[in-house]
Symmetry: C2
Subunit: 568 residues, 2 copies
C-alpha cells in the first residue's frame, strides 16, 4: 500500500463550482462564441459584468456534531483526517448539479454536512459506520463530488448530525491479475490517477465519463456511471466485475468471476445504490491492454436523420467495433463550431480556409451549413491493419448514408477538449445564465421521436416562460437496441427569486418527455434526488416497491444517505 495522502492533499473542487480554482472558461480567443451567446441565449458577454461569488460574503452556520462523537471519529481517522471548517463543509454539501451550483453560489447553506471524515482503510470505514449506527448519525459517501443528481446533498430537514465520508485517501491499485485482465482498486481512486497508474503498466480501464477528472471509481459504481468509450469497454456495470462494500452487517463481497447465477444479483443491488446500502471500498475492474493504434475520425452528415441512420448502420454492423461513436445534431454542431479558436498560427489559418472552402462546397450541394449539418466522431482502436480496415468500412457506411469524412484533424481536437465542458456552466452562471444537461436511453426505433419531442417540449416551456433558450443534443453510447441521447440547454434566468422555478420548468419538461415516450429518466446520471419524481415511471410501481423494501430492510434506521434513490 502506498503512502496515504492526508485529507488536505486530496483533490477537491473550488467551493462554488467545478474543478480547480484557477481554471475557468475563456472566450476571448473564440470569436464565434459571444455571437452565439448573444443570438441564441440573449446575453451580451462583452457588456455584461460577470459575477463571481465570495465565501466571505456569507455566514456559514456552525456544525452540529457533538464533541464526544467528534472525538470518537478522530479516534478512528486521526485529527488531520476530519475536516469541519467552513469551506470543507460547504464543498462537501453540494454535488455539481445546476441547482447545487446555484445554491452554493447564493450561500444557501440551510443544511450543511457537519463534518467530513477521510478514512484510509476498509477497517476505518467500518469503524466509522459503527459509530454512525450507534450514535444515530447520517452518513453520506463522497467520491469526486461531481454528481448532478443530488446524491451527496444532505436533506434540508435532517435533524441528526450528518457526516460525509470522503474516500479520496483510498486510491491504490491493490493488485493486477495480468492473466485475467482484472485490477483490484480502492474506491476513492480518481479517474486520471487510475488511468495513469494503469497506463504505466500497459493497461487501461477505458472508462471516461465527462466527469472523469473529478469522479472516482467508487462513485462510478455507486451511480451506475457510463463513460464515453462504452461502445467498446462497456458501462460500469460491465467493467466493475467485483465489489467490496461495508454494510451495517459486515462487508459485502461480490466475486470478480464471469457468469453469476446465484439468485437475484447482489452485485447489481450494490451498483447504483448511492450509499444507501453501505460504502463501496473496493472495485475489481476489467483492464485491457492499451491499443497500439487509436484514432478519432470526424465525419459530417447533412442533417440529424442521415446521421442517425449512419450511426445505426455502424452499430448494426458485425464487422466494425468502434471504441465510441458520437453524433452531434445541427445545433450542437453549430455550438461546437462556435468554440473553435481564432486562427493565429499559419497551420490553423490554413485549416480555417480549408473549412471555409468545404462548407461552401457543401452549400453548393444543397447542405444547410448553419444549423442542420451534423458532425460525428468515431474512435477506432486496435492494430494498425484493423484500424485501417475499420476506418475504411465506416467511411463506406457514412458515405452510404449521405455523409462525408472530415478526417483525423477535427477528431483529435474533440478528443483533447472533451473534459473541459463543465467549466462552461460556471462561466455562464457568472452571467446569470443556466446551462445544463439531461440524458436518456432510447431504442433505435424512437431516437428520432425523442429527439424532436424534447426540442418541442423545451421551446414550448421557454415560450411560456417568456425566455429565450438554446438546446442542442448528441447521440452517444451505442448498444444493440438503442443509444443515449444527451441534451444540453441554456437560458438566462430572470431573477434570483425566479431562477430555480424557471430551471425546473425547463428540466422537468425534458425529463417528462423522456418517460412519456418510454425512454429512461436518465442514461447515466443516477437518481439522487433530482430524478426521483420520475422513478416510478422509470422502474414501475412494483419495482419501486421492491427497491424501497430492499433499502428499508438493510438500513432500518435510515442512517445511510437517506432520501437518495427513493424516499423510505
Amino acid at each position: 500500500m502506498s503512502d496515504r495522502l492526508s485529507a488536505r492533499e486530496v483533490k477537491r473542487h473550488k467551493w462554488w463550482g467545478w474543478g480547480l480554482d484557477d481554471v475557468t472558461f475563456r472566450y476571448d480567443n473564440k470569436p464565434a462564441f459571444p455571437v452565439l451567446a448573444r443570438d441564441k441565449v440573449g446575453v451580451d458577454l462583452d457588456s455584461k459584468q460577470p459575477v463571481e461569488p465570495d465565501l466571505s460574503d456569507f455566514e456559514v452556520p456552525a456544525g452540529r456534531l457533538p464533541d464526544a462523537i467528534r472525538s470518537q471519529l478522530v479516534g478512528v481517522v486521526g485529527e488531520e483526517n476530519l475536516a469541519d471548517d467552513d469551506e470543507y463543509r460547504v464543498v462537501h454539501s453540494f454535488g455539481r448539479s445546476l441547482p447545487d451550483l446555484f445554491r452554493v453560489r447564493a450561500g444557501d447553506f440551510a443544511r450543511l454536512v457537519d463534518a467530513v471524515v477521510y478514512p484510509s482503510s476498509e477497517d476505518e470505514v467500518a469503524a466509522v459506520l459503527r459509530i454512525v449506527l450507534e450514535q444515530d448519525l447520517v452518513l453520506i459517501p463522497y467520491g469526486g463530488g461531481s454528481c448532478i443528481s443530488g446524491s451527496v446533498t444532505p436533506d434540508v430537514h435532517e435533524q441528526r448530525p450528518v457526516l460525509t465520508m470522503n474516500l479520496g485517501r483510498m486510491r491504490d491499485v491493490l493488485e493486477i491479475d495480468d492473466t485475467a485482465g482484472l485490477a483490484r482498486v480502492e474506491a476513492g481512486m480518481y479517474g486520471p490517477d487510475l488511468e495513469e497508474q494503469l497506463n504505466e503498466l500497459g493497461w487501461t480501464v477505458g472508462h471516461f465519463p465527462d466527469s472523469f477528472t473529478y469522479s472516482t471509481l467508487g462513485g462510478w459504481a455507486a451511480t451506475r456511471s457510463s463513460g464515453m468509450q462504452s461502445d467498446k469497454y462497456g458501462d460500469i456495470e460491465d467493467i466493475a466485475r467485483g465489489l467490496r462494500m461495508v454494510h451495517p452487517d459486515g462487508t459485502a463481497v461480490t466475486k470478480a468471476i464471469p457468469g453469476r447465477d446465484s439468485g437475484p444479483s447482489v452485485h447489481e443491488m450494490i451498483l447504483g445504490s448511492e450509499g444507501r446500502l453501505g460504502v463501496i471500498t473496493e472495485v475489481t475492474v476489467q483492464v485491457h491492454r492499451i491499443s497500439p493504434v487509436r484514432q478519432v475520425i470526424a465525419y459530417m452528415y447533412p442533417d440529424w436523420e442521415h446521421g442517425i441512420r449512419g450511426m445505426h448502420a455502424i452499430a448494426r454492423s458485425t464487422d466494425v467495433t468502434p471504441t465510441f461513436t458520437r453524433l452531434s445534431d445541427g445545433p450542437e454542431t453549430e455550438f461546437s463550431l462556435s468554440m473553435v479558436k481564432e486562427p493565429t498560427s499559419t497551420k490553423s489559418k490554413v485549416a480555417a480556409k480549408v473549412q471555409e472552402g468545404l462548407f461552401s462546397y457543401l452549400r453548393s450541394k444543397g447542405w444547410d451549413t448553419t444549423n442542420e449539418m451534423s458532425i460525428s466522431y468515431v474512435c477506432f482502436e486496435g492494430s494498425k491493419e484493423s484500424v485501417e480496415q475499420q476506418k475504411s468500412l465506416v467511411k463506406k457506411i457514412v458515405k452510404g448514408n449521405g455523409g462525408i469524412t472530415l478526417g483525423a484533424g477535427p477528431g483529435a481536437i474533440y478528443d483533447q477538449k472533451k473534459f473541459d465542458t463543465p467549466y462552461l456552466r460556471d462561466f455562464l452562471l457568472n452571467y446569470q445564465v443556466f446551462g445544463d444537461v439531461c440524458d436518456t436511453g432510447a431504442t433505435w426505433s424512437n431516437l428520432n421521436e425523442v429527439h424532436s419531442t424534447v426540442y418541442d417540449a423545451f421551446y414550448a416551456v421557454q415560450r411560456e416562460q417568456g425566455l429565450p433558450g438554446f438546446m442542442f443534443c448528441h447521440m452517444s453510447h451505442s448498444y444493440h437496441s438503442g443509444a443515449c441521447l444527451y441534451f444540453t440547454f441554456a437560458f438566462p434566468y430572470s431573477s434570483d427569486e425566479q431562477a430555480l422555478g424557471q430551471y425546473y420548468a425547463a428540466k422537468n419538461a425534458v425529463q417528462q418527455a423522456f418517460v412519456d415516450l418510454g425512454s429512461t429518466v436518465s442514461h447515466h446520471h443516477a437518481v439522487g434526488i433530482e430524478h426521483q419524481p420520475w422513478i416510478t415511471e422509470d422502474v414501475g410501481e412494483v419495482g419501486v416497491r421492491m427497491v424501497k423494501g430492499l433499502l428499508a430492510d438493510n438500513d432500518p434506521g435510515r442512517n445511510l444517505n437517506p432520501g437518495k434513490v427513493t424516499t423510505p
Copy 2:
C-alpha cells in the same frame, strides 16, 4: 395472439426422464462406446440387463387440493387447463437433476405437487396468484422442467397445497421491433419454437443452452441461463432486455432500454429469482439478423494446457469475435471419439481412414492420442469475407499454441448432436450408473488449477468410496476475464440404498473444490436447492442476508416457490 394450445398439447418430458417417450440413447452403432463404459465406468453394457421404470409399479399419493380451491382455479383457467392426474403431477414434481431422476424412477413420491395449472394470459397468472395468496397455497412456476438444481421440486415437508404453474400455453412472439432488434415474447415459449418463429422472419436470439429443446424463455430468465453461443450473443442477462413479472403487488415491468441507472437494478433482482418474487410472464429479448455464413471448425491441441492457451489467446484478441469457443480436455476428447458411429457408408469409411492416418502422424510427432489430446470447436458467423478472415486468424492462433486445424467436418457433426446428451443420463440409469455435470465460472488465471483440483477431488472421493469413476471436462463461454469449466462424471452406484449418498459424496467434492478456489458454485445452473450449501461461499454472508431480506419482504407468507435460492 395465436390460438392457444390446450394443456394436453403442451410438450412435456416422459415421466421418468428426459424428453420424448420414444427417444433413447443407443450404442449398437457406436463400437467404441461399450468399451469405454467397461474400461472407465466398469459396466458391461452387453451382459447387464437395463431396467426401465414403469409408473404402474408405484402407488401415487392423492393430491391435497381442496375441491373449493380447485373450483376457483378451474374458474380462472378452465377445467381442461388444470391437470391433477397422477402422471402430470409426477412429471411436474421433479426437474431433471440426477437426484430428481433417481427419485422419480424409484417412485419416491413423498411430496408431489397437488395440481398443475396452465394459464393462457398474464391476467390468468395474476388471478391464480391472488387465489394462492388468499388461500395460502404454494406456487411453483414451471417452464420446461429441465432444471438440474431442484428449482421446481416441492419441499417434502410442505403442508400447504402446492400448485405448479406451467407457462407452456403462453408461447407467442407478441411484437418485433425491427429497428431496435427487440422481440417481446411470452415466457412459456420453448427454445426450438422461439428460434423457429424468429428464423422465419430472419431473426435469431442466439441462446442455445444444452437444455434448449426442453427449456423456456421464462425459465432461462428465472435461472440466469447461459447458452453455448454466449461468446457472441451473451448470457440471458445480456439478452433479456425487458421483463414482465406478476408479483403479489402487481406486475413488475422493466423497460427494454439500454443504460439503466435508476438505483439497485430491479431487472437483476428478477433475473435468477426462480419464482420467489413472482411469475415471469414476458421477456423482451435482443434479436439478431441470421448471419449469411455460419461455420463450426474443429481443431486439435496436444493437451489441455496448450488448448487453454489457445482459447485465451482467441478471447484476448480484439480482431476475432467467434460465436462460440469450446475446448474438450483429454478425457472428454476420448469420450467424444467413443461416440463416433461405426463407419458404414463409403464416405464415413474414408473419414475413419483419414482420422487413423492423422492420429498415427500425431503420435509420430510425440502426441498422446489416447487421453491427452484436446479437441476444440470454434464457431464463426458473419459475411463470407469476415468468416474467412476470422478463420485464418484463429488458425494462426491455434498453430501458435501447438494445435492443428481439423476442419469443418467434425465441427458440423458436433453442431448437429449438441442437444442429445441429456438422453445419455437416462440410458446410464437403466444400468445403475450415475452420469452428471457440474459447472463453474473461473478466471483465466485459475482455470488450470480448478481443472486439476477438481479431478483430484473427484478421484479421491471415488477411491474412498471404493468405486470406479470417469470424469471429463470442457471449457466454454469465454469472457474477458475468464470462462466456464463444465465437468461431467459417471460411476456405477453400489445399491439403491447407497446411491444418493455416493452421488452427493462425489458432487459435493467437486462443488467444494470450486468455491475453495474462489470460483463460482455454478456458472449457469442456478441455485435451486442443490447449490444452496455453497451459496454463502458464493455471494458472501452479507449478500445472502441481502437476498433473504429481499425475498422475505416481497413474499412474507412464503407462498412463492419457498425454499429455493435460500431458506427464509
